[in-house]
């Protein structure tokens, strides 16, 4: 016989940040990052170069997602920072800097540029911000191509890297890219877990509602804008080191935005893991179908439309929703205690 007690204890809930899955996955991610450090030792130079470009894609996707997924800022002009990062590296090397040190300083320079720029462009939302950034990128491309010392419109190469043997060069470039990518991913991870992260996720869900409960929307966007500026600048510098040659029309090209939008939409806008998956998808597609020029780009555009309309949370967001997965613990979840 059941014994009825006078008071049924109300179910108690606790806030959980780490689950078993997320602990093991975070450990796995850290282990993966460490394992990635051995790629140059274990594989050929060609593979290392491809791995470098994959890491650059991951970095770019994570940066664009930080802006659009958390800040609600769709930028069509992040190539401004990619180009500035690359050309700042060239400029520093022309002034007798060590190329690898120059790449890091170039990323910091891009963060510096993004501060005054943010006062101009962050006043806008939606399309005005999107195209305003695009115009900034176009203007930057023209300014760079007017400068003869940077190779003008015909492009320039990073001859200073010739002091290294090809093997050294590819290895150093890879390790620096890995370090930078891991740094920015860790920065985003810590940022999203912090108190500020909660407000960023609130901005993502509804900017006006977030503002009405006291979230400082502009400050959140400002931080994301500066981080994304530095990250895209670093990606530009690493692209230069990986391909050795750049020209203004391609490094400042709007194609970069097309790739970033594709990666983030396919992977999952506004999720931490999604852009990484999107970058892997783009990397595989580029390697498999990149030669089919026209149809490859038609496919990328069509996929971006399809995902935006039919699967707006992308691959990862959809999986997360359906199975309640949470592998990287950037959010909170309620757990019934005592069960």
């Amino acid at each position: 016989m059941t014994q009825s007690s006078a008071t049924v204890p109300a179910p108690r809930y606790g806030v959980e940040r780490w689950g078993r899955l997320s602990i093991s996955f975070t450990a796995f991610a850290v282990a993966l990052a460490v394992a990635f450090a051995f790629v140059p030792v274990l594989f050929s130079l060609g593979t290392t170069q491809k791995a470098t470009s994959l890491l650059i894609l991951v970095l770019l996707a994570a940066m664009w997602n930080a802006l659009a997924g958390y800040g609600g800022l769709v930028s069509v002009g992040q190539q401004a920072f990619i180009g500035l990062g690359a050309y700042a590296t060239v400029w520093l090397c022309n002034h007798d800097w060590n190329p690898y040190r120059a790449m890091i300083v170039a990323a910091l320079f891009c963060a510096g540029v993004s501060v005054p720029l943010s006062f101009l462009v962050l006043r806008f939302r939606g399309a005005q911000f999107a195209i305003g950034m695009w115009v900034v990128a176009e203007a930057a491309a023209i300014l760079v191509s007017l400068d003869q010392s940077l190779g003008a419109g015909t492009g320039t190469s990073l001859i200073e890297l010739n002091y290294y043997t090809p093997t050294q060069r590819q290895h150093y470039t890879y390790w620096l890219t890995l370090g930078i990518t891991v740094f920015f991913l860790a920065l985003l991870f810590l940022l999203l877990r912090s108190r500020l992260g909660s407000s960023l996720q609130a901005i993502r869900d509804d900017e006006d509602a977030a503002a009405s409960v006291g979230v400082r929307v502009l400050r959140g966007k400002w931080i994301l804008f500066v981080i994304a500026g530095a990250g895209c600048g670093a990606a530009g510098a690493m692209t230069l080191a990986n391909t050795l040659f750049i020209e203004p029309t391609s490094i400042f090209g709007v194609d970069w935005t097309a790739y970033m939008i594709f990666m983030v939409l396919v992977g999952g806008l506004g999720t931490f893991e999604g852009p990484i998956i999107g970058a892997i998808v783009l990397f595989v597609i580029q390697n498999e179908f990149g030669d089919n020029g026209v149809w490859y780009l038609v496919g990328l555009g069509a996929a971006a439309i399809g995902f935006a309309l039919l699967l707006p949370r992308g691959i990862w967001g959809t999986l997360e929703e359906r199975f309640g997965l949470r592998v990287m613990p950037v959010g909170y979840r309620l757990r019934r205690e005592g069960t």
Binding site: A68, G72, V74, V76, L120, V121, R123, F124, R125, G126, A127, Q128, A130, I131, G132, W134, V135, V136, E138, A139, I142, L143, L146, V254, T257, A258, I261, L265, L269, V294, W295, L297, V298, L300, G301, A302, A303, A304, I305, A308, L309, P312
Partner: protein, 292 residues
């Protein structure tokens, strides 16, 4: 006098930018979205005229006549397939889908028509080359004057359509408040589709004039989109006559920049645009609450 001539040429060039911006302004005014494929649709219009010219030996202006209904249908189809769904999913999605569409259109044009740079100036005959010598230094080209005239006619026509016709009143009502408009019997979906159809058809007109005045190629769209958007923003988002003023300001900025050094032409336009964005009012004619 060369400076006066630069201003005159800038005003004429502004007509083209106003015509390009007009469709953007209509869509922004009615639906609050910017179509990032607008420039590519203008280029598509130019290619369609070229296709007609391949089959019939007529003037490009005559060849535009069968293209216009096709572009109206393209706009209508675009609205009911992609934009309508995008509109329902928030403010970011229309930007993402129209950017995707832009890439698709560019590469399909490349696939169909090769990357060659083309012009319809030759087909247009004397209109493209004739000019009126005002003084020794100032001349007004026939095509420049024609574009400006057409821009004024299109903008005036739109203004009349919006203020005098039933469909225009429905469009203004929907622009102000789609839910309330539906309550009094307006079909907002149909209004949106009509607005996009009109915007895309005007883009084709602008595309034709761009093709006659200068050149076009499959990837010409993004630059035209930027110019169109700059004209719309300088004029104050959503104001039709503001778009004409914005186009002229942009055109004059570019020709004066080019007068200093041809390399500065486009840059000068960008800088004026950014300066206007930075100004407290954010547009020459931005009037709160004014629709289209």
């Amino acid at each position: 006098m060369t400076w006066v001539n630069a201003v005159v040429q800038g005003i004429l060039l502004g007509g083209l930018y106003a015509l390009l911006g007009c469709g953007l302004a209509v869509m922004f005014g009615v639906m609050r979205i910017i179509n990032l494929a607008h420039g590519d649709l203008a280029v598509l219009g130019a290619y369609l005229v070229m296709v007609v010219l391949d089959h019939a030996n007529v003037s490009p202006f005559l060849a535009l006549l069968p293209v216009l209904p096709v572009m109206l249908l393209v706009g209508y189809g675009l609205q009911v397939t992609i934009l309508e769904r995008s509109l329902r999913s928030g403010v970011l999605v229309p930007l993402l889908t129209t950017f995707g569409l832009s890439i698709v259109i560019q590469n399909l044009l490349l696939e169909q028509f090769s990357p060659d740079v083309r012009s319809l100036g030759g087909e247009a005959g004397s209109v493209a080359t004739a000019s009126w010598q005002v003084t020794n230094d100032i001349s007004i080209s026939a095509i420049g004057g024609l574009v400006l005239g057409v821009a004024v006619l299109v903008l005036g026509g739109l203004q009349l359509f919006l203020s005098r016709t039933q469909a225009g009143r429905q469009m203004r009502a929907t622009a102000q408040d789609p839910d309330t408009a539906e309550l009094v019997g307006v079909n907002a979906r149909a209004v949106y589709a009509r607005a996009t159809a009109i915007a895309v058809a005007i883009a084709a007109v602008a595309g034709l004039f761009m093709a006659i005045r200068s050149t076009f190629f499959p990837f010409a769209g993004p630059t035209q989109l930027i110019f169109a958007f700059e004209a719309v923003v300088i004029g104050g988002l959503g104001s039709l006559w503001g778009t004409l003023a914005g186009g002229i300001v942009l055109g004059v900025a570019q020709t004066i920049g080019a007068q200093i050094d041809p390399q500065y032409s486009v840059l000068a336009g960008h800088l004026v645009f950014l300066a206007v964005l930075a100004s407290p009012r954010g547009g020459l004619f931005s009037i709160r609450g004014a629709t289209t």
